[in-house]
Symmetry: C2
Subunit: 454 residues, 2 copies
C-alpha cells in the first residue's frame, strides 16, 4: 500500500500538474519495492558479469560449455524438426503456420518432451500434463501463480537457492521462508519443522522449492533415503514440491539418482525442467510437468498443467515457435533421449570439476588451512562448487577481483534468503576449459592471498 | 487471503496426511482465483479457436497474413543478422555466444529497434531506453510490475480492451477500472473523470492502458486533438500512459497518425511495441520504450527501462536469442525501417477490410436494418471491426456457429472489462483471403439469419 506519487518532489504533480514541457522524473522508491532491492539484481549480475569484465576468466555463471556450438546447427535443428513433423504426416501448410503463427498456449512439443521424460527420467506422464515454457523462470512463475493466492500462503525454499525462485516469488508478492540446507542438501525433518512453524503463525505453507541434483549454488545432491522421506513429509504437511532439475543429466555414469517426480506416487511433485543446459540457454526453453488432476466447478477433471494454461496465456501467450522447433529437432535427432547425447558433455563437466578441485588443492593445501583459511566442498557432478574463504566476499570484492585479478565468480551471499554465505563464493566451472580453470584458480589464489583475513 | 487447503475433501490432508499412495486431487477453487475465472480463458480461446475448428473459416484471431511465410526465411533472417554483426566488426566467437548463451537481460537488438523507431515513428530514444521482451505480454507485465506495488494503485484501461492487459493485471493482482470508449476511441475527459473517481475512493490511478491506432478489438483510431489532450490529462492527473501499438503500420498511405510517444514531451508515455504483426507471432518478440529518468537512493539516474531490468530478469532472464536474431535480421535487411517493407502488407489488410465491409453490406443491406438488426463500424485500417447483431453472441453461440456454420469469430463481450458488448462480435479479417472472407461472411449471414432475435 503506497501513498507516494510517481513524480519527484521537484516536478509538481496532480492535481495542479506540471507546466507544459516539464519532463517527468521518477523516484526509484515510488516503483515496486523489488525494483530498488539489490537482491533482485542477482540474475542480471549472473547473466552479465562475463560481458561486463570481458578480460576476466569467468566462474561467475552457470553458462554451459559452448565449444561445440555452431551457428549452422540452428537451421539444422529447425529443418530436423520440420522433417520430424513431415514424417508424422503433418501437412506443409500446417507446419509453416506452426512456426510462424500464434500457437497453442501450452506449446506444441509436449509429445516429444513426454517421450524424453519416459526414456531419460522414468517419468511417465501424458502430453496433457506438460506445459512448454519460456525457460525455468516462466515455469516457476506459472506454477507459483496457480498455487498461491494470498499473503497468508508461504513458499518454503531451500537456502541457499537459485536466485530465480526468489525473484519469481517477489514478482508475485509471495512470501518466502528459507529452509537451510546442509552438506547433504535439504533435511526433510527441517522441512517438516519449517512447515509447522509457518502454520503456527496462522499462515499456510503451500509449496517447497529445491534442486535435488547438484544444487545451484552449492552442488549438493539429496540422498535417496532423504528423497523418499521428503515425499512423505510433503504428504504429511500438505505441501506441493517444486522440483527444479537442470543438472541431473550431468552425473557420473551410473550415479544418476531418481528424480523426486519419478518416486512420487501421491502427486506431490511439480517438475520444472530446462533445456538451457541440455540444448542451449539462448533458446530460453523449459517445461513444467503437472499431472495432478484438478476438479472444476463443472465437475470436469483436467490436469494441473492444463488448468495453469490460463496463467501461461497471460504471462506469455505462448512460447517461441523457433525455440520449440530447435529443441524439438534436437529431441527428434536423438531419438527422444538426451542421456546418450549428453554423455560426452557430462564427461566435459566432470573433467572440469576435477580440474577445479585439483587446482584448488594445489594452491590451498589442506594441511595449511590454518594459514589460508580456504576450504571447499566436493560435489560429484553438476556445474558448481562452494569455496569458503577467510574474509567477507561480497559483490564489491568480486568486482575488484574481476578488474584487478582477471577472474570473476559469484558471492554465495547472493543465493542466501535470510543472510549467510558472506565468506563463501560459488565457482561455476562449466564454461571454462581446463587450461583456463587452472589459470583462473591461480588468479583467484592471488586475489585470496592478497586479501586480508577479517 | 485463502484458508482453503490444496487437497480435495476426499483426500484427507495435514496434519494427518493421506495414506501412502493416495493420489492428490486439487480443487480448482483452491488455486489462484484467476485460474477459475472464465475471462482468463480469453487468450487461449483467441489463440486456439482456429485450431479447435480446423474446418471453419476463422475471423476469431488477430493472426497476421501468412501467405508470404516461407520456412527458408528463418535461416535467411538469422544469417542476415549474423552478417549485420560481422559488418559491425563483432568477432565470430562473440556472435556465436550471443546466439547460444545467456545474454543481456534487456536484449541485444535495442540499437536496431532504436533506429527503426527514429525512422518509422519519429520516436527518438537511446538504446538504453529500450527493453526487448517476450512479446507485448511481457512488456506489459514488466511495466505493470514496476509501476504498481499495492492494492490501492489502480490501472485504468480502455474498455473494450485487448485481453492481454486484463490478464497481465490479474496475474499481478492489480485492480483494473474500465474507461469505456466511444466511436472515436477514448475520450480524454472520461479518463480525467475516471482518475478523479478513483482518487475519490482513496486509491491512486497510476497508469492508463490504450491502443490509440486501430484498437483491438474495436478498430477505432484516436483523433490527433484527443491525443494531445490525453497527454495533458496524463500530466494533470499524474498518470503514466501505456501505449500499445501493434497496428499503427497498417494505416492507409498518408493517414498514419503520430504516436502518443512521439507527441509526448513530458515523459508520460511508456510505449509497448510488438513484432507479432510486422515480423511474425511465433517469434514472440516485442519491446518496451521507457526513457523516463529514474533517480535512485544513490543519486544516480538511469532510464526506467534500465530500472525495470530487475523485473525483466525475474520474469524471463532474457528474451530468446533466436527470436532477436530473426527480428534483427529483418530490421537490418530493411534498412531499419518497416514502413516500406510493410506497405504491401498494409495494402493486403486494407483490401481485406474493404472486402469484409462490402460483403457485410451485400448480406445485410443497411436499408433493411429494422429486419436483420445487423450493423457494423467502418475502421480505416487495422485488423478488426465490430458487428452488432440482434441477439446475445457469447462463446456458446460462437462455438455453435463454428461447428454448424463453418465460421468462427470472437464475442465482443470477452473484451469488455465491466460487462457490455453482449450483442457484438469482433471480426478479425487479417488472415483470410478475399474469397474466404466472402464465403465466411456468407456463412456468418446464414448463422445470423437462422438465430432468433432476442
Amino acid at each position: 500500500m503506497s501513498t507516494t506519487t510517481l513524480s519527484a518532489p521537484d516536478a509538481p504533480n496532480a492535481p495542479d500538474g506540471p507546466a507544459d514541457g516539464d519532463m517527468l522524473t521518477l523516484r526509484q522508491d515510488a516503483l515496486h519495492p523489488a525494483i530498488a532491492d539489490p537482491s533482485m539484481d542477482s540474475m542480471r549480475i549472473l547473466s552479465e558479469t562475463a560481458m561486463k569484465f570481458p578480460e576476466a576468466l569467468s566462474f561467475s555463471s552457470g553458462a554451459p560449455y559452448d565449444g561445440n556450438h555452431d551457428l549452422a546447427d540452428l537451421s539444422f535443428h529447425i529443418d530436423r524438426y520440420v522433417k520430424h513433423l513431415q514424417e508424422r504426416g503433418v501437412p506443409q501448410q500446417r507446419i509453416t503456420r506452426l512456426l510462424f503463427q500464434y500457437g497453442p498456449v501450452n506449446g506444441f512439443i509436449q509429445d516429444d518432451v513426454a517421450q524424453m521424460l519416459r526414456n531419460d527420467e522414468d517419468i511417465d506422464v501424458p502430453a496433457e500434463a506438460i506445459m512448454i515454457t519460456h525457460g525455468f523462470q516462466e515455469a516457476a512463475l506459472v506454477a507459483l501463480r496457480g498455487l498461491f493466492s494470498g499473503p497468508d500462503e508461504v513458499l518454503l525454499s531451500v537456502s541457499p537457492a537459485y536466485v530465480g525462485i526468489r525473484g519469481a516469488a517477489r514478482m508475485l508478492d509471495i512470501p518466502l521462508e528459507a529452509v537451510d540446507e546442509g552438506p547433504q542438501g535439504l533435511d526433510p525433518e527441517a522441512v517438516a519443522a519449517a512447515a509447522r512453524a509457518v502454520r503456527a503463525t496462522g499462515r499456510r505453507p503451500a509449496a517447497l522449492y529445491l534442486v535435488p541434483d547438484f544444487s545451484n549454488p552449492s552442488g549438493t545432491v539429496l540422498p535417496l533415503q532423504a528423497r523418499r522421506r521428503l515425499l512423505e513429509v510433503a504428504a504429511e504437511e500438505d505441501l506441493i514440491i517444486l522440483e527444479d532439475n537442470p543438472y541431473g543429466l550431468f552425473a557420473p555414469e551410473g550415479e544418476a539418482m531418481p528424480t523426486l517426480k519419478s518416486l512420487d506416487t501421491a502427486g506431490r511433485v511439480i517438475y520444472l525442467g530446462s533445456f538451457a543446459k541440455s540444448a542451449f540457454p539462448g533458446a530460453r526453453l523449459g517445461y513444467l510437468v503437472a499431472d495432478q488432476p484438478v476438479t472444476g466447478a463443472d465437475g470436469a477433471t483436467r490436469t494441473l498443467a492444463q488448468e495453469l494454461s490460463r496463467a501461461k496465456a497471460m504471462f506469455s501467450v505462448g512460447s517461441s515457435s523457433l525455440s520449440q522447433a530447435v529443441v524439438g529437432g534436437i529431441l527428434a535427432e536423438n531419438g527422444h533421449t538426451l542421456r546418450p547425447a549428453t554423455r560426452e558433455l557430462a564427461a566435459v563437466y566432470l573433467e572440469r570439476l576435477q580440474v577445479t578441485l585439483d587446482s584448488l588443492a594445489e594452491h590451498f593445501p589442506p594441511e595449511d588451512h590454518a594459514e589460508h583459511q580456504v576450504s571447499w566442498n566436493t560435489p560429484r557432478g553438476g556445474f558448481f562448487l562452494t569455496v569458503e574463504v577467510g574474509f567477507e566476499a561480497g559483490l564489491g570484492e568480486m568486482e575488484r577481483c574481476a578488474r584487478d585479478y582477471g577472474v570473476s565468480w559469484a558471492p554465495m551471499s547472493m543465493f542466501h534468503i535470510d543472510g549467510g554465505g558472506e565468506r563463501q563464493i560459488r565457482l561455476g566451472f562449466s564454461n571454462l576449459a581446463p587450461e583456463a580453470i587452472r589459470e583462473g584458480i591461480a588468479r583467484l589464489a592471488r586475489f585470496i592471498n592478497h586479501t586480508p583475513r577479517a
